[in-house]
Amino acid sequence: MSAALEASGVTVRVGARSLLDDVSVSVAPGEWVTVIGPNGAGKTTLVHAVAGLRRVDRGHVSLSGRDLGTLSDRARAGLVAFVPQTPVVPEGMSVADYVLLGRVSHRSLLRAETPHDRSVVGEVLTRLDLVALAARAVQTLSGGERQRAVIARALVQEAPLLVLDEPTTGLDLRHQLEVLEVVAEERRSRRIAVLATLHDLTLAGRFADRLCLLDGGRTVASGSVADVLTEDLLRAHYGVDVTVLDVGGTPVVVPTPRIVT
């Protein structure tokens, strides 16, 4: 079985500046890989590049064994679903209609949605506990509910790879956990491959099988959570002193408020 995502040597340039330089990452079906790194490390550029939303200058990306560069927009949307960092919320659109947008790649573009599309949407709304909110306008939802709706829209694409860019931005602790648990449950029950970026290192360690640490557009560390979340690596690349505690077998990263000079 081919990897849901296989990216090698990905380079993205803007003018003479490299936003990403020779980055490789792969995600197997049912695996969760989280990309971490300081601001400006290239995390968002990487997830945009592998989701086909940004041109890759060098390197190779394949989705479920198919070359990204040869895929039509529609075919690509069937292989990778994307949850953006700051979703655009269309005014006045109901949650059900919003989630239904995720089905557009499943039929020829000018065709109306089918009963099957509606039943897929119905199932996902149920799984994500959104049925009671289906008729509400998306813009009236709370942050956590809204993020669940965005994830629901990605899930109805039924793509083997789910890419999330900072899915917990702006959420309180409970809703951060809730959103990540929704993704974890989908991955467990449906063997979806997950590639996410996260700022919160403790949550990153909690929810990923593997971590990839980016800094300055390059991969500086990659491997198991224990290999990447080390005090030395984090100090070197985030520029702060941290203590990594072991709480019940999971690493907890506690920053020390003193800037390393």
Binding site: R74, M93, L110
Partner: protein, 349 residues
């Protein structure tokens, strides 16, 4: 939200038959009023009776004078009003969807200025200051389409975002409007003709003129309405609609091309009639929601009826004199818009 079998299904935002029926009824009533009202009043009942008689369903024919007034003088004008109003409203709605901007109108990318320049060239250079009713529309049509094409080229063939397109449209429109002003100043006779053309009018409606613009309008409206569900996807922005599988640049190019074709045909047939393209899709949006699947179809009939009613006012408010229809659409459009906003506010309370 649950069907009988217990599987939850999402509610539908698709077109409702009762909405379409109401919109068609509005256009039909407007058309009937348009045929009936004028300097000589012909009762609607007499018109209905005449139509029934023609269809062999009873009723009786009108007297000959009324027959000429209704079917020879008013009917082409009413039909052109329906076509121009419907096309402008659909084109405006489509532009609003593509640009994700409620203030977009069919003239956003330079059609008005280009058509104005084209018409001015026809009036000043070809018509020697007067303008030939068979030449001016052709020049206006071509001028409008050339202006949009120029905007599209300046903005990098649509590959850059909507903001660049709008800015390019502003630049192209300013340049063409300046050229048009310059040209019309060379002839004092032309100023009046150009001015009246710019204000818009349905007075010159003829069956052959209608047949000339109808194919463009039909293609425009059909393509825009066929793309309505794609405009709904585009509502989440370019990045996200691309991630959902939408070929964003292609969709944008096709919808802009189709809407511009219709708007250019409308302008060629009736001059620059403002406000229909903004106020009608807006009113529809406020009444039935944000889905373009509804907005575009209902705007077609709503715009058709609206423009015919505006024309009725234009030719009946002052005795023996016509108001420019563009003035009427604005005067009529603004209070109507305020009313719709008010109704919506009350409903939300």
């Amino acid at each position: 939200m649950r069907s009988a079998a217990g599987t939850p299904t999402a509610p539908s935002s698709s077109l409702k038959v009762r909405h379409v029926a109401a919109a068609i009824a509005f256009a039909v009533v407007a058309a009937a009023v348009g045929l009936s009202v004028g300097s000589i009043h012909v009762p609607i009942t007499a018109i209905i009776s005449d139509v029934a008689w023609r269809l062999g369903l009873g009723g009786h024919a009108m007297n000959q004078t009324d027959d000429v007034i209704v079917w020879t003088l008013r009917a082409p004008r009413v039909v052109l009003g329906l076509l121009v109003g419907g096309t402008l409203a659909v084109a405006g709605g489509a532009y609003q969807g593509v640009f994700r901007n409620p203030l977009a109108d069919p003239y956003l990318l330079g059609i008005a200025a280009g058509a104005g320049l084209g018409a001015t060239i026809a009036i000043v250079v070809i018509g020697g200051g007067a303008g030939d009713p068979s030449v001016t529309p052709v020049f206006a049509f071509v001028g409008g389409l050339l202006a949009v094409s120029l905007t599209w080229l300046v903005a990098g063939r649509g590959s850059t975002g909507p903001t660049t397109l709008i800015l390019a449209g502003v630049a192209v429109a300013s340049m063409l409007a300046a050229g048009q002003t310059l040209l019309q100043q060379t002839s004092t006779l032309a100023v009046t003709h150009v001015y009246y053309w710019l204000l818009g009018s349905l007075a010159g409606a003829t069956w052959s003129g209608i047949l000339g613009v109808l194919p463009y309008m039909a293609v425009s409206v059909t393509v825009c309405i066929a793309c309505a569900r794609l405009l709904d996807v585009l509502a989440v922005g370019e990045l996200e609609s691309a991630s959902l599988g939408l070929p964003v640049v292609a969709v944008r190019t096709i919808v802009i091309a189709a809407a511009s074709l219709g708007a250019a045909a409308a302008v060629a047939a009736a001059g620059l009639i403002g406000f229909v393209g903004i106020v009608v899709p807006h009113a529809v949006r406020l009444l039935v929601g944000v889905s373009y699947k509804r907005i575009l179809v209902l705007s077609l009939f709503g715009g058709a009826g609206f423009l015919v009613l505006a024309d009725v006012l234009a030719r009946s408010v002052l005795r023996g004199q016509e108001l420019p229809i563009g003035v009427v659409t604005a005067i009529l459009g603004v209070p109507f818009f305020v009313l719709v906003l008010h109704v919506r506010r009350l409903r939300l309370r």
